[in-house]
Symmetry: C2
DNA sequence: ACCTGAACACCGTTCAAGT
DNA sequence: ACCTGAACACCGTTCAAGT
């Protein structure tokens, strides 16, 4: 007897994102996610092979949402940097997982498009890829450190972010040595 | 009847580091660590309050070892960058945990000394702190991305690293705008 | 004093049985 | 077809009992 689905993959991923943000990666259990969508844990295995696969889907969704934010906000590297930081502050737990082996290549490529575009605008097409990687690496590392509390040593974190952004822009536009 | 200790905190941390590198964070179980030092899991609770405390000790030891490497290798930012990257390649699992909430403030401060020194050399004392943060954020983010496989999109990773390092140095020494 | 077996709670995962 | 209770393996953690 066919019975209608009681939930969807999208709903499960959304529930998992909420659990993750509320309880951290350790609190992201199959039971907690299942309870939030109104089923029992074993039902989730019909949709995702195991917890790792669900986590991977969560990270992919997060990267796509980050990419959409960057597309909206973004014209130049300054706008991208602040949109990036705002996203990390809103969704710290999810952001922490973006650059882990859970991330899928396709999602990373999609979300890198606006950064590549802004980088090409600033340094030209030939250097757009390494320039985008410089920018993304800096922003990622800065936020990782900020979220980890690595900036307790003193000084203004906001100022360090703006300083980094301006020096980085200066380096990208400086004449080649 | 007093009995001699069958292991030491240092030995436990060293064992945990080996387990971590060999089996990843998921494989770092109290049983695996205990077996490696020749005791049973419950004995570890005499030395570390819980698994999180052991993980924190592992991260602290890792940061101190990284700091020692940087002290050896390091004169300028170029030397530091390559020492940093070599360490991340040798100990990827441990490196991934350096900028997480497991890291203790003291360890982070100790290991940042050589970077601060090199940054001061390049940009002067006043800007040494934000300059060091720019450098560390870039290197951290780059390696995080490299270890996560985020550079599968094409292009040479080595070249992107050198490009980033040179543009970053150029930005730090460029005249203020 | 330190160590351990036994026990408990909790989680991931499987699967036969329900509808 | 989808869902679930029951079961199993595994892990973190506690603690009374051993030496």
């Amino acid at each position: 007897m066919p019975t209608p689905n009681r939930t969807t993959n999208e709903e499960v991923v959304a529930a998992a994102q909420e659990v993750l943000e509320g309880a951290g990666p350790g609190g992201l259990t199959m039971q907690a996610v299942a309870a939030r969508v109104g089923v029992r844990a074993p039902s989730l295995y019909k949709r995702f092979h195991d917890r790792d696969a669900l986590l991977s889907a969560v990270v992919t969704a997060t990267i796509d949402e980050l990419g959409a934010r960057l597309e909206e906000a973004a014209l130049d590297l300054r706008g991208l940097a602040h949109a990036y930081r705002a996203f990390a502050h809103e969704r710290p737990e999810a952001f922490r997982l973006v650059f882990t082996p859970y991330a899928e290549e396709g999602a990373l490529r999609r979300s890198s498009a606006p950064v590549l575009r802004a980088a090409a605008e600033l340094v030209g097409e030939e250097d757009a890829l390494p320039a985008a990687r410089l920018f993304t690496a800096w922003a990622t590392g800065f936020l990782q450190m900020e979220l980890a509390g690595a900036f307790r040593l003193g000084g203004s974190v906001d100022e360090a972010f703006d300083y980094g952004l301006e020096r980085l822009r200066a380096g990208l536009t400086a004449p080649r040595g």
